[in-house]
Symmetry: C2
Subunit: 216 residues, 2 copies
DNA sequence: CGTCTTTGTGAAGAAAACTTCACAACCATC
DNA sequence: GATGGTTGTGAAGTTTTCTTCACAAAGACG
């Protein structure tokens, strides 16, 4: 189910948007203002955010910046009644995916949502990883061991992986597997077996390259 | 000034060793037992540790392990009255640099210290960095920016670096510079100008390699 | 000389990363 | 259908990393 968050201080608009989006088959979370949106964001993974540019306290642009810090690739559509080139440019420079002006027609909004989601899907399969998460994933020796084991063994079940790494606490393994999964380095197949993705293999190559380059 | 820590529970021996080492031009820190040694280690950078194998509470071998966790390359000379092959082998396997038996002659101890320090110096210029510190240094985007700036500008003064990165709080800069310095990526010349080391340049190369390899 | 900028240090606080614990759903199998 | 291994989740606690604050020594400069 595609998860969408709508952030707008106008209650009527917020709820009518929720209705429309749910009608179109999306799961919708509502937020009244920026702080609330950030809390939702911390708890849940969204596929798209609809964001009002003008909001009390934490403005839409600043909120967009904060969202970018947390989730650099999460698509965000900005919505505003005050359409100005400056605002639009500023929003797009901050990484907004689209920019819709109020009042808007339902079908225009849905078209924008559909298009942005489609781009994101395309984008995500185009091996786009961000450097921070790649490097911080790899900076943990335990996670490197996981990758190395998987490369050697091909595919492993959860418990076998634990045993190979002589780990008694399986929740720790879960924690690191989750990070590696989010970084795009490994995935589970239909039998729940863990295996490296192409990026995972490449990441290991990179580590070897680093080691060679830096001696040690 | 070369910093040496002496860890021994025998007060007389500890102090006579301190006297000898200070006479030889070293700066000496004394620790009575393992816990104290670890505290010193957290606060200060040492060049060498002299460690009694037999100590109450935290034994020398276990302490050696703990030291290895914190500082994988810090030379440690083990000292013991109970010379046995098993102990010696165990200590060397844990990464001790040398193994001296009590009672020892002053010149034998100083010879060992001199030799181990010499090896460490040789080792450290052989570009041996450990992968964890390399990767975690590079996983911070701010630190990557510092490296990039230095590569572009050649050498920079502290405040100029701050200004280029639009940083108002200079202590934050100090924090990250320290990490990069410890990772061996940059150094200060005689005029206090910061500049990249060979390893620093190579690290940046590695980052570029990663980016190319992983797309984005 | 006093004052301002530079270049730091150390400690306290905040945030992020990591570990551990308590629990539960699911499956095989006896 | 009880039992035991597998595969997880969420929350609490710990440790590490990062930021901020308070302060100070050293040099530049009027």
């Amino acid at each position: 189910m595609t998860e969408i968050m709508v952030v707008d201080d106008d209650q009527d608009l917020r709820e009518s948007m929720a209705e429309v989006l749910e009608g179109a088959g999306f799961s919708v979370t509502l937020a009244w203002r920026g702080e609330e949106a950030l809390e939702h964001l911390a708890r849940k993974n969204f596929d798209l955010i609809l964001l009002d540019l003008v909001m009390p306290c934490l403005g839409g642009l600043e909120l967009l910046g904060r969202i970018r810090d947390k989730a650099p690739r999460l698509p965000v559509i900005m919505i505003t009644a005050f359409a100005s080139v400056e605002n639009a440019v500023a929003a797009m420079r901050q990484g907004a995916s689209d920019y819709v002006t109020k009042p808007f027609r339902i079908d225009a909004l849905l078209a924008s949502v559909g298009r942005v989601l489609e781009e994101a899907r395309f984008e995500s399969c185009r091996t786009s990883l961000d450097l921070d998460s790649v490097l911080s994933s790899l900076s943990n020796p335990f996670r490197r061991k996981i990758l190395a084991q998987l490369e050697q063994a091909g595919a492993l079940r959860f418990m076998d992986l634990c045993r190979r790494l002589e780990l008694k606490d399986h929740t720790k393994m879960n924690f690191h597997l989750k990070i590696l999964k989010e970084a795009g380095f490994l995935e589970q197949n239909e039998d729940k077996l863990y295996l490296l993705t192409t990026q995972g293999t490449q990441a290991l190559d990179c580590v070897r390259f680093l080691m060679k380059k830096l001696g040690d």
